[in-house]
């Protein structure tokens, strides 16, 4: 590249516009596709038809698929944005939202909830969220006293927490009986399940403010990428900024994961891929991760619902099947 790049503002508008169109397209496809049928024009047709309760397709699209598709978009957006923040905080382009082990705590909480026979929402959600809060507290305690971003303190604490949670999860799974085992496995693989519009609304109300706060800190994330010393010398209050980013991101990832389990690879692949295409400026990457991650998850969910001949496979399986080869490709490319 020769010469300076075009201004941030215009690149931000251009990338957001294109990704918004992609998201809109994915949402439309999500509404149109499914085992109950539909097709390209079906969604528009149901808008035009009379408010007729006996029209099954209409109610399927707007009462079952719509909340599901919106949930998928929220999940994808949260995990991608979360991955982006952790990549900046840990100064590692291959970090992802589960790297600090908070998802492990959420899993333990969820499994306990399932074993207790609680309903998916609010029961299992509450135990899962509680588990992740407990893990976040342990993490902050372990990393407290030393500087949060110093060396590998945070990363190593996360690895330890993850390892411990994995052991507890295996223990709990080994104790589970047949019927609940299936529910547990689906949760662990990441499953969007059935959800009402009201539940999605509550989730959105908690997540969107988190998105807002993170977007206000994107320039500081650029500065942190240059290192702790550089960021502080340019006026960033490192302790406050990194703590705020860590807590907000952990909470939003926990809220999402507590809903639908450990959907993998989205939080790693999407921000990394977007960085390869759009560059490392977080002011552009943050909205791009929200829109791009949302689109990706909606598409994966469509595939999860339509690929198998009967029923559906967990969305986390699709994200892994697409995400793992994508990750290997990105890894090899970054080594060149």
């Amino acid at each position: 590249m020769t010469g300076p790049e075009p201004a941030v503002g215009s690149r931000l508008v251009a990338s957001s516009l294109i990704l918004s169109l992609i998201l809109a397209g994915s949402l439309y496809w999500g509404l149109a596709a499914g085992s109950a049928g539909g097709g390209f024009g079906a969604v528009i047709k149901t808008l035009g038809s009379a408010a007729d309760d006996t029209n099954m397709l209409k109610s399927i699209i707007w009462q079952i698929r719509l909340p599901r598709v919106l949930l998928a978009a929220l999940v994808g957006a949260t995990l991608s944005l979360g991955g982006l923040v952790f990549q900046a905080l840990l100064r590692n382009p291959l970090a992802e939202p589960y790297i600090l082990g908070i998802s492990g705590g959420s899993a333990i909480g969820a499994i306990i909830g399932i074993l207790l026979g609680l309903a998916r929402f609010p029961g299992v959600w509450l135990t899962a969220f509680g588990g992740s809060l407990a893990t976040l507290a342990v993490l902050l305690l372990m990393a407290a006293g030393r500087n949060l971003l110093e060396g590998n303190t945070l990363l190593l604490s996360g690895v330890m927490v993850n390892a411990f949670c994995a052991a507890v999860i295996m223990f709990l799974v080994s104790m589970a009986q047949d019927s609940r085992l299936h529910t547990i496995i689906f949760w662990l693989m990441g499953d969007l399940g059935s959800v009402t519009l009201r539940q999605v609304g509550i989730l959105a109300a908690t997540l969107l403010p988190c998105f807002g706060v993170i977007h206000l800190m994107t320039h500081r994330m650029n500065l942190i990428s240059l290192g702790r010393d550089m960021a502080r010398s340019m006026g960033v209050n490192i302790e406050r900024t990194s703590l705020l980013l860590l807590v907000i991101t952990s909470l939003m990832v926990s809220a999402t994961v507590s809903h639908c389990g450990l959907v993998g690879f989205v939080g790693l692949v999407i921000p990394h891929l977007l960085r390869l295409v759009l560059g490392p400026d977080h002011r552009i990457l943050a909205p791009a991760s929200v829109l791009g991650g949302g689109s990706f998850m909606v598409v994966c969910d469509v595939l999860a619902r339509t690929l198998p001949e009967q029923g559906e496979i967990p969305a986390g399986v699709i994200t892994a099947l697409i995400g793992a080869p994508a990750f290997i490709y990105l890894l090899r490319r970054s080594q060149r």
Binding site: T2, P4, L216, S225, M234, N237, G279, D281, R283
Partner: protein
């Protein structure tokens, strides 16, 4: 007018040992001030305390008349710019992006730059001679070029004081002179105060107006170059035999290391 930097009775403890103690000195406005001393003498610690990178616990530091404790990181950043020895480069930022980050203490909440900021970035790149590298990635540059990118970024901060940590340590001979000349230019043409840690005594002697010699966390000497570059003082601090004579380039002392085979024939020149 207040001094640029006043350090009063500064101390620092690390892991139970006293890394710095009773350090008191001042840096005048517009001065070229170089801190020298052997490894482990506390030079880097001193620099990090002055720059606000480490919290101040013992003693007092005043920057342009205001205590360092009374200033927010942002206020301090508008006054002092820091050029480290190494900067991690995990993310593929381009040169212009890095230089623009120097505008951070002057930007609004969202951190978007205006045309004025872009102008300053281009000015800074012109001064450091890196305009032709604007679109390149940091990882594609040589050590000397990368150094100049970070100096340009520091200039963009519009500081009054520029602080550098061993800027010539990893550089080729040509880049060493180039960086030091650049610092002199910034000092004289742009009225910046330059504070630098250097391990190169001869470069320090040729550019500095005053030197601070640290040894084991205490001041061993502070003053004009001719006062501090004294062979008895240096031999004591650096614990090796040295020869100090006059540089043919001008009124600068020149320090020579002495190989063992020359020792019986040593003649100390004062």
């Amino acid at each position: 007018m207040a001094h640029a930097i006043v350090v009063n009775n500064l101390g620092h403890t690390f892991n139970g040992s006293q890394v710095l103690s009773q350090v008191s000195f001042h840096v005048e406005l517009g001065e070229f001030f170089v801190i020298i001393g052997p490894n482990g003498s506390g030079k880097t610690t001193l620099l990090r305390l002055i720059t606000g990178l480490m919290p101040l616990k013992q003693g007092e530091i005043t920057i342009q008349g205001r205590s360092i404790r009374a200033q927010s990181p942002r206020a301090l950043a508008r006054c002092i710019a820091y050029v480290p020895q190494h900067v991690p480069a995990e993310f593929p930022f381009s040169v212009i992006q890095v230089v623009l980050m120097g505008r951070a203490p002057h930007l609004g909440l969202l951190g978007f730059e205006g045309p004025g900021d872009l102008d300053r970035a281009h000015q800074a790149m012109a001064i450091t001679g890196i305009e032709h590298l604007a679109g390149r990635r940091l990882s594609q540059l040589s050590g000397g070029e990368r150094q100049r990118v970070f100096i340009a970024r520091a200039i963009c901060q519009q500081p009054k004081i520029l602080i550098l940590d061993e800027p010539t340590a990893a550089l080729d001979l040509s880049h060493q002179v180039r960086v030091m000349d650049l610092m002199e230019q910034l000092q004289q043409a742009h009225a910046l105060t330059i504070v630098m840690v250097s391990h190169d005594l001869n470069l320090a002697a040729m550019y500095a107006q005053r030197l601070l010699l640290l040894a084991e966390g205490r001041i061993a000497g502070c003053g004009r170059v001719s006062e501090v570059i004294d062979y008895a003082l240096l031999e004591r601090v650096y614990r090796c035999t040295l020869l100090v004579d006059h540089s043919p380039l001008g009124d600068y002392p020149r320090v020579h290391l002495v190989p063992r085979r020359h020792l019986p024939h040593r003649s100390g020149v004062r």
